[in-house]
């Protein structure tokens, strides 16, 4: 093979006394390869890439581009060397449009002024070429997480980077989108670009990557040829042992109906019909999966159930009470808890401590209050137990949660909501960005919750996640339920795919059953 296009040598990074994120890490990438960077949550993957991109400074170590030493003082230098990065947590301006975000910093000019039309055109051609349809005039704040991710990717592609760093780009994409995205990546590789992908999805690594570097606890375990290493070996190298097996679904007698929707319809913010005649029910001890390509009404469904969207027709019942007109606070008091899709916006208070975030949903419980005061000791103990159970890698309970790695933040959100759940759990992409080992842990806890007679609604773009956890599922297509599935195991992925794409639907009599 050719000389490495990029080499990082002896990188040491500490975020402060005792917090070591990279400990003498060396990493090298060849020109024209797709290189995977894997490791458990908090292993230091994002940190290493931020150092490469000039966003964090290493205390020691050198970076070579084409064997020439480079000091990556800030991202501008990195970009000048042809490096582009898609961040794990979006770096987009909420109040600008998609076109403005993509062209930020490389604005097309006409008579010295920003050429809006050219920017739109740029987005349109890129979106078409890479098969990632987004509306160039939409504001970022109105986009779903998956669409924001696409904008992030387009942003880097628009900058024509030679070395593209992708920090969990597919965490929020659907399998179909991922597949198309990977075809594009392969095409880019053919065109001579070099790509570094961070991902927790091992099949993806096997599918498109040439080599893989595995990190563990701030050190590199080694670099391997993907062809010569199995998925199992990868996960063993990542976490040091075999991951737990997926939970075995034990059947229990379904309890009373805890969550139901009857003939619910609503409009999207832009006035289009978003949901039409949605009817389903979930009993205690049941886990209902919501299958569908992202953007087919999942968001509205969740917003209605959690009280964030109040304008809809039809009735929604939680443990026998109507949700109509109830605030989120009231709905929560009825025993509903929910894992939001967008962890950075709705899931955590980045400035709050681990304790603040882990206990936010149970603060009002009597056991944590002594008169007007809160028992710090009990809250700390609760947070500590939660962090242990959900394998949250943290330095201190008091540190702001923004210091946690992305996957560890997600574990805090999952832990908080699953532990606080009294009757119904809405889990919207619960394991997004979580490593293989911890995915199993979270699945275990969700399954345990079900066995305790709670009703759970699971929305996931990962079909295999739904298949491992659910027996029953509904398939959403363009705001309608096109299939009620009572025994998920009896359907193949292809069949489900047909429903998801709207190529097939159950007859109404069948769907009503």
């Amino acid at each position: 093979m050719s000389l490495p296009i990029l080499r990082m040598q002896g990188i040491c990074k500490s975020y402060g006394p005792g917090i070591i994120a990279a400990d003498d890490v060396s990493f090298s990438v060849d020109a024209g390869e797709i290189h995977a960077l894997a490791g458990e949550n908090g292993a230091g993957k994002t940190t290493l890439m931020k150092i490469l991109f000039g966003m964090e400074k290493a205390q020691r170590g050198e970076i070579f581009i084409n064997e020439k030493p480079v000091v990556m003082a800030d991202p501008n230098i990195a970009m000048a060397h042809g490096i582009g990065m898609v961040h794990q947590h979006f770096m987009l301006v909420d109040d600008l449009t998609v076109a403005e975000n993509v062209s930020l910093g490389i604005e097309p000019k006409r008579h010295g002024l920003f050429d809006r039309e050219a920017a739109r055109e740029l987005v349109r051609t890129l979106a078409e070429r890479f098969d990632m349809p987004v509306d160039p005039d939409a504001f970022i704040r109105d986009l779903s997480v998956a669409n924001k991710q696409k904008v992030e990717i387009l942003k880097v592609l628009a900058r024509r980077a030679d070395i593209i760093i992708l920090d969990e780009p597919t965490a929020v994409l659907t399998p179909q989108e991922t597949k198309r995205f990977f075809e594009q990546l392969t095409a880019l590789r053919k065109a001579g670009r070099t790509i570094i992908v961070i991902t927790h999805k091992l099949p993806e690594i096997k599918a498109i990557c040439d080599r893989i570097t595995i990190m563990r606890k701030g050190r590199t375990v080694g670099t391997y040829d993907v062809a010569s290493i199995s998925e199992q070996e990868i996960s063993r190298l990542m976490i040091g042992s075999d991951p737990l097996p997926e939970p075995i679904l034990e059947s229990i007698d379904p309890g009373p109906v805890l969550l139901s929707m009857h003939d619910v319809s609503c409009l999207s913010p832009s006035g289009k019909s978003a949901l039409r005649g949605i009817t389903f029910e979930v009993r205690g001890g049941e886990l209902l999966g919501v299958v569908g390509v992202e953007g087919n009404g999942q968001r509205e469904l969740v917003d209605i159930l959690t009280g964030r969207k109040t304008a809809y027709a039809g009735s929604v019942q939680l443990a026998g009470d109507s949700l109509q007109g109830l605030s989120i606070a009231r709905i929560r008091r009825h025993g509903l808890s929910f894992i939001p899709e967008d962890r950075m916006k709705d899931g955590v208070d980045l400035d709050g401590s681990l304790v603040d975030n882990a206990t936010a949903a149970i603060r009002d419980d009597r056991q944590f209050n002594i008169g007007p005061f809160q028992s710090d000791r009990k809250l700390d103990a609760y947070a500590k137990r939660l962090a242990e159970r959900y394998e949250v890698r943290h330095e201190s309970l008091r540190e702001p949660i923004r210091h946690l790695s992305g996957g560890n933040m997600q574990k805090v959100v999952c832990g908080r909501e699953i532990s606080a759940c009294k009757t119904v759990l809405i889990a919207d992409q619960p394991t997004r960005g979580v490593d293989v080992g911890s995915v199993r842990t979270i699945h275990d806890h969700i399954e345990l919750l079900r066995q305790h007679g709670k009703a759970i609604l699971l929305i996931s773009s990962d079909l295999s996640e739904i298949r491992t956890l659910c027996r029953r599922a509904i398939v959403l297509h363009q705001g309608e339920i096109v299939a009620h599935i009572d025994d998920l195991a009896a359907y193949t992925e292809e069949e489900l795919g047909l429903y998801m794409l709207g190529l097939k639907r159950q007859r109404t009599t069948e769907a009503g059953s």
Partner: protein
């Protein structure tokens, strides 16, 4: 006895958990940053004094050591610090709740006016002569402050703009009242009747102007700390201030939390106004806004919005102003020099990048790596 020793040992372990080496280091870093900011500001101020004064040495001496030269002078520092303390706490409550309500200014005015009127017209005796006027002033401020706060929660009216307008509405109504309605013509001024002696706050130390108002202020700081960091209401307030979307999604009524943060802050400012009048004035005669409300935001920024640090920040600003007073009185340098110092400190403290703690941490970490004291992988000690 046993319970006492158990309590002591729990206290010790609490302290240990709060002040582990890492926390201590972080606190030192933060404190060091503020100290350096102050130092730089002083150096610039000295340069300015050196430039404008014929006798810079004298001016600097009055400026720096004047406030410490006698108990009476130090008493002035404490007196100056008292309203700043109230205002700083008020600003903490408001900022932490994610608001920028400037009505603290009007609240000082309204609280002072209503407290004076209550003292004059109720003419009570004993401890009630103090409590009732202060309570009236506080409540009056809270009532008026409710309007901009609610306007924000309900109709998303920008509280910054509406509260500033309310300041002027309140002030001009007040000026009209003391010029026409509650005016005491024998005073020869647009002012109320004299405040009865029973309602004047008692002097704490002989030969100084330090009153029990200082104790009230310190008490308020402690209560505000407990409220913000030890109760569930304070938790709701902080979460709402940090991330509204998050607070809403974990079931906090963000509208209510936002309103209560503003109302409480304004109440504290109203109380501060009442204390200021009952402590230092014979009659209420304010014809402009006192400026304490705005100062409060400065104090809060220097104290990093932490109620327990507010007394220190207020003390420092009080000291600065006493020094400026003495310098202006005794030498040829104008008082305004102090504005330069305040401005500089504010800019340096507020600009995160200036000696950011990340930079400091980096320096420390670098030394750590150099000394090859790397912690073993996975063996990073956890104090939690």
């Amino acid at each position: 006895m046993k319970r006492l020793s158990a309590f002591v040992s729990r206290l010790c372990s609490w302290f240990k958990s709060q002040f582990t080496s890492r926390h201590l280091l972080t606190a030192l870093i933060e404190g060091g940053r503020t100290l350096i900011a102050i130092l730089i500001a002083y150096l610039v101020a000295f340069a300015v004094i050196g430039f404008v004064s014929d006798d810079p040495e004298m001016a600097i001496r009055w400026f720096v050591f004047g406030p410490l030269s006698s108990p009476t002078e130090f008493g002035e520092v404490l007196k100056n610090a008292t309203p700043l303390l109230f205002a700083g706490i008020a600003a903490c409550l408001i900022i932490k709740g994610g608001n920028f309500n400037m009505f603290t200014e009007g609240a000082f005015y309204a609280g002072g006016l209503i407290a004076a009127l209550a003292a004059i017209y109720f003419d009570l005796s004993g401890i009630l002569a103090i409590i009732i006027p202060l309570a009236c002033g506080t409540l009056a401020a809270m009532l008026i402050g409710y309007i901009p706060a609610k306007l924000k929660a309900k109709y998303e009216v920008n509280e910054f703009v509406s509260s500033i307008m309310f300041n002027f509405i309140v002030m001009w109504i007040g000026v009209w009242l003391i010029s026409n309605v509650v005016i005491d013509v024998t005073s020869g001024d647009n002012a109320t009747a004299p405040i009865p002696d029973a309602s004047r706050l008692r002097i704490l130390f002989e030969n100084t102007n330090v009153t029990t108002g200082l104790l009230i202020a310190l008490g308020v700081a402690v209560v505000a700390y407990l409220y913000m960091f030890r109760t569930r209401f304070g938790f709701r307030l902080r979460m709402t201030g940090d991330n509204k979307a998050f607070a809403r999604s974990v079931g906090i009524d963000v509208g209510r939390a936002g309103v209560s943060s503003q109302i409480l802050g304004i109440g504290v400012a109203g109380l501060g106004g009442g204390v200021e009048i009952l402590a230092n004035y014979h009659r209420f005669n304010w014809k402009t806004l006192p400026g304490f409300g705005f100062d409060g935001f400065m104090v809060a920024i220097i104290a990093k919005n932490r109620p327990l640090l507010v007394p220190f920040a207020a003390l420092f600003i009080g000291y600065l102003r006493s020094g400026a007073d003495l310098m202006a009185f005794n030498t040829d340098v104008a008082q305004e020099v102090v504005q330069i110092i305040q401005g500089l400190i504010l800019i340096l403290v507020a600009s995160e990048a200036f000696f950011s703690s990340a930079w400091f941490r980096g320096v420390i970490a670098k030394r750590m790596f150099r000394r090859k004291q790397l912690a073993p992988v996975g063996g990073v000690d956890d104090h939690a």
